[in-house]
Symmetry: D2
Amino acid sequence: MAHLGQVELLTPELDATVWFFTEILGLTETARTASSVFLRTFDNYERTSVIVTRHHTSGLRRTTLRAASDEALHRRVAALEAAGRPGRWIDGVAGTGPTYLTADPDGHEIALYHQTEWYSAPAHLRPGLKNQPQAKPRQGIGVRRLDHVNYLAADVLPNVEFFEDTLGARPTEQIQLDSGKVSARWLTFTHKSYDIVYTEDRSGANGRLHHIAFATDTREDILRAADLCLDNDVHIETGPHKHAIQQTFFLYVYEPGGNRIELCNPLTRLILAPDWPLITWTEAERAKGQAWGLKTIDTFHTHGTPPLD
Amino acid sequence: MAHLGQVELLTPELDATVWFFTEILGLTETARTASSVFLRTFDNYERTSVIVTRHHTSGLRRTTLRAASDEALHRRVAALEAAGRPGRWIDGVAGTGPTYLTADPDGHEIALYHQTEWYSAPAHLRPGLKNQPQAKPRQGIGVRRLDHVNYLAADVLPNVEFFEDTLGARPTEQIQLDSGKVSARWLTFTHKSYDIVYTEDRSGANGRLHHIAFATDTREDILRAADLCLDNDVHIETGPHKHAIQQTFFLYVYEPGGNRIELCNPLTRLILAPDWPLITWTEAERAKGQAWGLKTIDTFHTHGTPPLD
Amino acid sequence: MAHLGQVELLTPELDATVWFFTEILGLTETARTASSVFLRTFDNYERTSVIVTRHHTSGLRRTTLRAASDEALHRRVAALEAAGRPGRWIDGVAGTGPTYLTADPDGHEIALYHQTEWYSAPAHLRPGLKNQPQAKPRQGIGVRRLDHVNYLAADVLPNVEFFEDTLGARPTEQIQLDSGKVSARWLTFTHKSYDIVYTEDRSGANGRLHHIAFATDTREDILRAADLCLDNDVHIETGPHKHAIQQTFFLYVYEPGGNRIELCNPLTRLILAPDWPLITWTEAERAKGQAWGLKTIDTFHTHGTPPLD
Amino acid sequence: MAHLGQVELLTPELDATVWFFTEILGLTETARTASSVFLRTFDNYERTSVIVTRHHTSGLRRTTLRAASDEALHRRVAALEAAGRPGRWIDGVAGTGPTYLTADPDGHEIALYHQTEWYSAPAHLRPGLKNQPQAKPRQGIGVRRLDHVNYLAADVLPNVEFFEDTLGARPTEQIQLDSGKVSARWLTFTHKSYDIVYTEDRSGANGRLHHIAFATDTREDILRAADLCLDNDVHIETGPHKHAIQQTFFLYVYEPGGNRIELCNPLTRLILAPDWPLITWTEAERAKGQAWGLKTIDTFHTHGTPPLD
């Protein structure tokens, strides 16, 4: 696949969740229906980054991935069917064309498409430079893009192998427990160091979300975001700090609907090596905490959405 | 005097000017009358930073300065009267108490006061930390404070001497032409390296404004401001760059009413030496341009408000 | 007093401590004797910021404070003698003139002076701008100034009152326990929000140091410092994060001699109000942790230098 | 090709050029011969980023490009030969394996390879995190990578078509004059928005260099670099500012040997769209200057290396 497309996020607090995305993160609302609000980051060339949908609980309904061409899309569909993970064709939503809907082994909905509508900004959002789809937002942080999705899965390995074997993802880093079990792996479709992450759901539940992440232009944006969250009673779970794994500068907050949202900044780090070896972190290495010594907070291992009863 | 208080700025485009201050700079509107809008920066402990007033042209109507105490205020009034620059007592506006209104030799209104109302934020603007008067704005840059005022004056020296001799300002840097004439001088009341600047008005006119400036928290804020100006058709005159004089990182724009506005960032530079010697820049030194080599733009020497016919 | 002058820091690991100050913080060595190395930050107008002295243990030997004039110095000396805290005149060191040496009630050496030698950079350290004493260092962070000293004291109140009553410090913030005891107070001589801090030494010991702090130009400098510490095995105690009290962005590390060093950045925050009211934080407020939720690390309450047996 | 490898830069001032790369940019010297010094950026997984070679004049001798595999390398070689641009096999240098040496139509040496030695840091340069090849430098800026090469060519089009048709580069932006002539085009092998640029050499000369560029982690790094250049008499040609084309935040300086060096920062901007359309800028659009209004400096159109007689 070429890159991450959009996510559909579920929330029991639609208005508050949309307030968070527009007023704190600086996403732009492009449309709404009775139950869903369509939002975009300013540098998305496609129409939609996030669909927020009213629901009885929180969680992630769907992740879409764009294929590089119609041919590539059909090759992936064939690979899915050959691998015993068939799906079905549905109409695309929010600007995307024919979409093939399947799921990872853990049950997260994955939707593949190629055709997409290039975003054209209305007059009041027209950018000053023609190589940018939309003016930079004046409100909130103005995050650049939906950066990655981090799934929880009862068993990490079959899911990352599904992404690697049928969708063309490449692993860049992982955590391997002393038992030999892979408890997390980071995957990429691009020169970004990761687009998709799977982390073990210690509860054993299926189909849950750890977090979705948005890339900011600068680390200063993340520090400003922390101030905005502080002043607006948005729960900061942990950060700002720097991950040892992937070196991402991060801030984790809970949006008002309960989903964990990361603001992330990788500086200019990219994985350009075509033969980058998978880096493995041991339990002992993980016990050292994050890059600058911050201990990983307990809820990071327990909170997922939807919450368990 | 203790520090700069507020400014009253005139504009022929009230709505557009207020839009600029709130949407780009991130000031907060606290009140409005038929002709004026009252605005504040988030870290002002007093109620008002800028009064924007509808007028047939642009310019600066008034600058207020706060005295450290009532006694200090009366000492300054006595000094003004002894120096042959008497004024008159008026009611304070926008949260300030009894105010003594005078003018500098060039005719800029200067108003002195001590009593002031400490700002108390309404519920929706309440900050997360008790050592901050107001929540950080979500829209625009969220400049921290009105930082300094730069007047144009037909003759710089009598005006800076007025500030030094009767108001207690201390000079930190100046430009002295080969002819011996002082064409600009930077003055401070605080440990900031300047609060007030006078620059020669080459047109010979009186009472005009070169610019008012707002301090940002970071240089990144100024780079973001430049993007917001670009995307919102706010005229950028020059910058971002670093001044050689005072080392300020700057961006100069024209607000929609025509007044030049600076966004400035001094990093953590302060003048702590009680006996800091006045630093003099020569014509030859000035000819080198700004700190990193940017040539000073022509309009910087000609544009003032109100404009000349 | 006008402002903080220099500190003399003790270390059992002279070479390693000097390596830390020059290679990580980017201080410049100006001179050395058999037992001491003289170091300066690039924006210090005086000759010396820190004297590092070989000793059997760590700790702070002396803090110097500059008076605004000889007259001011003598007024402070008279005040000390009147308050029953007399000292003695000694020769100044490292560029300072006649110095009056006394101590706070907890036993920390305090030395007052006015006359000082303005630093003149040698050719290879000459700055590009005449309003800066020295070129910005190419190695390490290049911290701008020695920013503040945080003493530990068995009993905070008599010490802060000593600074307020005889040395002219003004309190800006404090922590008051439910018992009514003041367990920490922040004091300033300038428009910086603090220059001197006293924190309760829970061990009951006297004369110990909590930390000395250096101001960086940017928060990015502190993030870079964290990386340099990580890569060079300098122990990071906590941070980077933002203090609730005073809002300082901070990083605490232990230099190789064991003394805690803070890199701090206040953005452009200043206390300009001449009548700023002392802000009091309660135990309950402190229990919330730092500004963005980081819990205060245990060693922050226990580690001081010299260490206790 | 997978990505840019290394460049060999010529200089008549070897020591001064190496001083610039190590002390200002923060590159690390790994080896030297009688005539060449081998340098690397801290995040290069390969051994060498820049070879600086003593020469009677300045300029760029060679650019290497890494292929994704041996198979990919041989496919490119076949394509070159089919396209009438054959080269010859040479031994790789500075850690690279068998290398196929050819040239673009304008005469710039281009060398293709796949096999490469992964860098292993000596003990004193060992990083704190295992996903980084080397400790971050303490001296200078510590640029992350050699980011792109900008060639001058008498005729742009045949050269960019050579890169597109035989080497697999994709065009992202270009300048097209009113006459229809393409005067500059930006090409990429990766998700970076460009790796290679061709600009018209108005002198009509062949084989010259406009600049090589290094990516910094932050825009603040570039502002710090400007200060270091100011204090160390490195000529700043223009910037810091933001390009309209590609939106890169830039600083252009001349290293002591005369070659133009860019420090560049793209924030987190990437071109993820597999079908990104080539964006064309007209003469009129170019006349507006850079993104925030800076006029393009004259030498930017005339200075290239080696200089013309």
